[in-house]
Symmetry: C2
Subunit: 438 residues, 2 copies
C-alpha cells in the first residue's frame, strides 16, 4: 500500500467555524488546521489537559468528551486525549486520527448542533498556559538542509577539511530529550569549553556566540519495534505531526567540541519547540513532489519510494524573527531575520525516519526528530545567525541602529511557520519563542 | 559540605543474612550489596514490581511493605518502590536511600524478627523475569577511558589526523534512550552505510564488524533544573547507582559515519544494561583516590574537588566474556576476553555529571550516562574486540579452535563486574548478557 496524503472534506477551504476568529484568514488556527497540544488555565496548577487550537480559543477535550454527544465510536477514540495523554493518542494510528479529525471538524463547523455544548468547553488562548505536547522520549537531530550544515562547518572550521554532510544518506546526531522546553521558557546562555585565540588551554566560559538553529520537528506516532526497520511507506505512516523547533547552539563551544568525537555542550542545553502539533492530516494539502538536488547521487534503495517523488515534501514557510530588549522597550515589533522553505530540504520526513530505523533503532510515540535548518529562497537571508552574519564578520543592523552578530541577553527569537497552497486555506504553527537570559 | 562516601554498619563484612545463599562468598548479592531492580514472575504478565536481590532470591518490596512491620518512617519511604516506580525512589535523595538501605539490611540480617514475614516475600531469581530498572529518560555516552577511545579512532581511521579525545574535559555524545534493553534481550545485527574498498558509493549492508563496547552506566537520582549546573559536590550526590552497560557498536558503520557530523546508526541500535542497580551507598567501601594520568593538564575548576582526589574513583573490576553458538552446543563455558579496571578511568562519575550539566543541561531521575570502555590492567587484554584483535588483523582463538575478529550471529557477550576491598565483602553486579542474531 502506497501511503497517500488524504485531502478530504476537512480541508475544504470554504469551511467556516462557529468560533468566529478562526475564520480570519490571518489566523494560524482555522478549522482546516485543528492542531493538538497540552494546556491548563494560566496560573493554576491543574493537571495538563489536551486541547485543540481553534481561532483564538482552546477546545478542552476532557470537557468536550464529557459534555457533548459524539458519533458512535468517537468517544472511545478520544479516551487518551481525555486522560491528557497525547502520546497515547499519537500511538493510536492514522485511522483513529482521521476519525477524530473528522469528528472535531464537524463539531466545530458553522451550524453544528454540537456547538452549544462545545461553547462551554472553550478557553481563550490568552488564558491558557501551554506545555510540551507530551513527554519527549528520544530526540535525534538531522541535517536535512545540507547547505546550512555545510556552511556551518566551513564557517566554524575554515582550516579543516570539510566534514562530509552527506548526499548519500541523512546525517545527524542524537540529542538530549531532557532539555527540550516549550515555547515561552527562557533560554539560559550556556557555559562550555572555549579556547581563546593564542591561549594554550580552554576555559569554561559563557558562550559569546549563542545562536538559534531554526527548523521543524516531527513527533513520532506509531513507531517500530527494536530491530525492525521501517520501509519508506511505513515511515510515512509513522509520524504524527510537526512542531517548530529551535535547536539553540553555542557556536564557540561547537567549534571547540568539533575537535572531539561528539558534541556534548554546544547543543542540548535547551531546545525550544512550539506547543501545538500540526498533524500529518492537516498538512496533507501542502504536500509537494520531492526532488533530489541537482547532481546528487542516486538514492539508496531504503530511501527511495514512488510516493516520495510524488508528494514526499511539505511546503512549509519558516520564518525567524528577532526582538531585542531595546526593541521591546521601545515597543518596536520583532524584525524578520531569515526565511526557510522546508520543501527544499534535502531529505523528506519519511527518509529521515526510514534511515534512522534502518539500523534497527526503534522509535516510540512521542519521540522527536529535528530537521535541521532548511534552505531559504534567498541564501543571504536564510539559516542561522552564523550564516546571516558570515561567521560574525558582517553584523546585522536592527531598528534603532542596534547591530547583532550573535544573540545577546534579552534577545527574543521567534519562529513561525505557515502552509499555503493554491485554493487551500492557510494554516500556521503558532510560535516557538525563547528569550536569552544571562 | 564535602560529600563523603559513608561506610557504616550495613557494610560490615561479618554481617550474614537469613537468606543463606547470600552468605556464599562467591555470590554477587550478599547482604552488603542490596541492589534494586524491576521484576515479575517469569511467564506472567503481572505489572513490573521493584525488588532487592539477596543471594539467589528477589525480595518483593510491594509484598514486603504490606506484610512486614517496619520502623517508623520507613513505610513512607518505601511508597515509590511499592508502586513499582524505581525512578521515583531514585529522585528521593540520599537520606531516604540510606534509611531504606539500613532498614533492608536489618530486616534481611541473620536473626531479624522481620525474617518470618519477609520469607513470604521472596521469589527465586530463577523464576523472575527482569527488565530495565526504570524508563530511561536521556542517555549520554562518555569516553572516560581515553586509551580505548584513542585506540578506536586510530584503528578506524588510520589515515586521518586523530580526533582529539580530550584530556581537558570529558568527551562523549548523546545516544538513543529508546533502544536501551535489559540483559537477556537479543541484539539484532544492524544495517548501515558501508563503503567497500574501491567502491565509489556506500551500500546499506548488515555490519560485518559488530563489536561490544563494555563499560558501566550510572543512573541519575536527583538531578538539576535546566540552566543550573551542578558543582562537583552536588554531582557526587546526584547519582543513584550503577549498572553494567554494553554499548554495542558497528565498527564498519562507525568508520563511515565518522566522516559525517555525528553517529546515527553505528551505535544506538541496541545498548544492553544489567537489571540490578548497585547503589552509590553499596559502592561506598570501594571508593579510592582519583589520580589524573601522568602528564595530563591541570583540571579546569568545574572538574576539581578535594573529595574527588581523596575518594572520587570506584574500584570495579569489569570482565567481558564470550560464548559462541558452537561453544554453547559443546557445553563449553564462556571464555573471558578482556578485563577492565574502572578505577583507572580518566574521569570520575562526578566529573562526567558536573561537565554535562556545566552547560546548563538538566539531568532527570532515571537518566543514564555511559562511562565508555575503561582501561584494563593488561592493555593487550582490555577494551573491545576492535582493540583485542588490532582492528580485526589478529583473530582471537577460542576453545574448539574457533577464531573471532568481530561478533558472529549466535555469539553471546556477557559483562560481569565485582568490587573488592581489603577487609570488605565482595559484591557483584550480576550480568549484562546479549546474544547476536542475524
Amino acid at each position: 500500500m502506497t501511503p497517500k496524503p488524504l485531502v478530504d472534506a476537512t480541508h475544504d477551504p470554504s469551511l467556516k467555524s462557529w468560533v468566529e476568529p478562526a475564520n480570519d484568514p490571518t489566523c494560524d488556527f482555522p478549522i482546516q488546521n485543528l492542531p493538538l497540544g497540552r494546556f491548563r488555565r494560566r496560573g493554576s496548577d491543574e493537571p495538563w489537559r489536551v486541547g485543540v487550537a481553534i481561532g483564538d480559543q482552546v477546545l478542552d477535550l476532557m470537557l468536550a468528551a464529557q459534555q457533548c454527544p459524539w458519533a458512535e465510536g468517537v468517544h472511545e477514540l478520544l479516551a487518551p486525549l481525555v486522560a491528557g495523554d497525547l502520546a497515547g493518542f499519537m500511538a493510536a494510528g492514522t485511522a483513529a486520527r482521521r476519525r477524530v479529525r473528522e469528528a472535531l471538524s464537524a463539531a466545530l463547523a458553522d451550524g453544528s448542533d454540537q456547538g452549544p455544548f462545545l461553547e462551554l468547553c472553550l478557553l481563550p488562548q490568552a488564558e491558557a498556559e501551554l506545555t510540551l505536547p507530551c513527554r519527549i522520549g528520544g530526540f535525534t537531530e538531522f541535517d536535512a538542509g545540507l547547505r546550512h550544515a555545510t556552511a556551518v562547518g566551513r564557517l566554524l572550521r575554515p582550516d579543516d577539511p570539510p566534514r562530509a554532510v552527506d548526499e548519500w544518506v541523512p546525517t545527524g546526531r542524537h540529542g538530549r530529550a531532557s532539555s527540550i522546553v516549550a515555547s515561552g521558557n527562557a533560554v539560559r546562555r550556556p557555559m562550555g569549553p572555549v579556547q581563546a585565540p593564542g591561549a594554550d588551554a580552554p576555559s569554561l566560559v559563557p558562550s559569546a556566540t549563542l545562536d538559534c538553529e531554526p527548523g521543524l520537528g516531527v513527533l513520532i506516532g506509531r513507531g517500530n519495534a527494536l530491530g525492525e526497520p521501517l520501509t519508506m511507506e511505513q515511515a510515512e505512516q509513522a509520524w504524527f505531526g510537526m512542531v517548530l523547533l529551535n535547536a539553540w547552539t553555542a557556536r564557540d563551544i561547537q567549534a571547540w567540541e568539533a575537535r572531539t568525537p561528539g558534541l556534548l555542550l554546544a547543543k542540548g542545553f535547551a531546545t525550544t519547540i512550539s506547543p501545538w502539533v500540526v498533524t500529518a492530516e492537516a498538512l496533507a494539502p501542502y504536500r509537494v513532489p520531492f526532488a533530489r538536488p541537482e547532481g546528487a547521487p542516486p538514492l539508496l534503495p531504503h530511501l527511495n519510494a514512488a510516493f516520495n517523488s510524488a508528494a514526499g515534501a511539505i511546503d512549509i514557510g519558516l520564518e525567524v524573527w528577532l526582538q531585542t530588549a531595546a526593541m521591546r522597550a521601545a515597543s518596536a515589533p520583532p524584525q524578520r531575520l531569515a526565511q526557510g522553505r522546508f520543501r527544499d530540504s534535502d531529505w523528506t520526513l519519511a527518509q529521515l525516519i526510514a534511515h534512522l530505523t534502518s539500523g534497527g533503532c526503534n522509535l516510540c510515540p512521542g519521540d522527536l526528530l529535528g530537521s535541521g535548518t532548511p534552505p531559504g529562497p534567498d541564501p543571504r537571508r536564510s539559516g542561522s545567525l552564523l550564516e546571516l552574519t558570515e561567521g560574525g564578520r558582517m553584523p546585522l543592523t536592527l531598528p534603532g541602529g542596534q547591530a547583532r552578530t550573535f544573540l545577546q541577553d534579552g534577545d527574543t527569537v521567534i519562529l513561525r511557520a505557515h502552509c499555503r497552497a493554491p485554493g487551500r486555506a492557510r494554516i500556521g504553527f503558532g510560535e516557538a519563542v525563547g528569550t536569552v537570559v544571562g
